[in-house]
């Protein structure tokens, strides 16, 4: 499912809102989430999950072509931890599809 499909689904259910507004809203949400993470702020959505940053320490890498060592600085990477409801719903759906096999 892509962002535009998500927008259509939401617009279909919130039919008092114009699709254009749903589009603006979804884009604003995604931007707000990216912004939070890029300023080091966590995101906590109960039943969905939390997003945080993990730190990667500086290391010596290598130029794969020349084999020359290159100093790579430390950095942060985004990390997602699914919440309890998310874990259970996704896993239960797998249990259901297994029964059908």
């Amino acid at each position: 499912m892509t962002k535009s499909e998500l927008i259509e689904l939401i617009a279909g259910k919130q039919d008092h809102l114009a699709q254009r507004d749903v589009e603006l809203a979804v884009k604003a949400l995604v931007e707000q989430m990216s912004e939070a993470l890029s300023t080091g702020e966590r995101i906590e959505i109960r039943g969905f999950g939390s997003f945080s940053l993990h730190h990667r320490p500086p290391r010596i890498g290598r130029n794969p072509k020349t084999g020359e060592p290159v100093a790579l600085p430390g950095k942060h990477v985004p990390h997602f931890k699914p919440g309890k409801e998310m874990r259970e719903r996704v896993n239960d759906s797998q249990a259901q599809s297994d029964k059908g096999r």
Binding site: M1, T2, K3, L6, L9, I10, K13, Q14, H16, L17, D21, V22, L24, A25, V26, A28, L29, V30, E31, Q32, M33, S34, A36, L37, S38, T39, G40, E41, R42, I43, E44, I45, R46, G47, F48, G49, S50, F51, L53, H55, K75, H76, V77, P78, H79, F80, P82, E85, M86, R87, R89, V90, N91, S93, Q94, S97
Partner: protein, 99 residues
């Protein structure tokens, strides 16, 4: 402090002009539709942010860390998040907070 649904709804009210009820419903709906897709085994791709994918894991041996007792970890389906290039570069630039 962490970003929560309440703050997200507030921003939709301020920036997109939805009323408070609409803003709250929309935030709820945003996360619920993503969960519904994942629940039906459909990966979700939010360009500029990242992809939520599903992985089926086989049963594997595990251990109760407290008692050391061996118990199998059952087969399961899990959600993984892979940040997109744009989010990764934005986050990489974050130098870290002074502690």
């Amino acid at each position: 402090m962490a970003l929560t649904k309440a703050e997200m709804a507030e921003r939709l009210h301020d920036e997109v002009g939805l009323n408070k009820r609409e803003a709250k419903d929309l935030v709820e709906s945003f996360f619920e539709e993503i969960r519904l897709a994942l629940e039906s085994n459909t990966p979700v791709k939010l360009s500029g942010f990242g992809n939520f994918d599903l992985r089926d894991k086989n049963e594997r041996p595990g251990r109760n860390p407290k008692t050391g007792e061996e118990i199998p970890i059952s087969a399961r389906r899990v959600v993984t998040f892979k940040p997109g290039q744009k989010l990764k570069s934005r986050v990489e630039a974050y130098a870290g907070r002074k502690r």
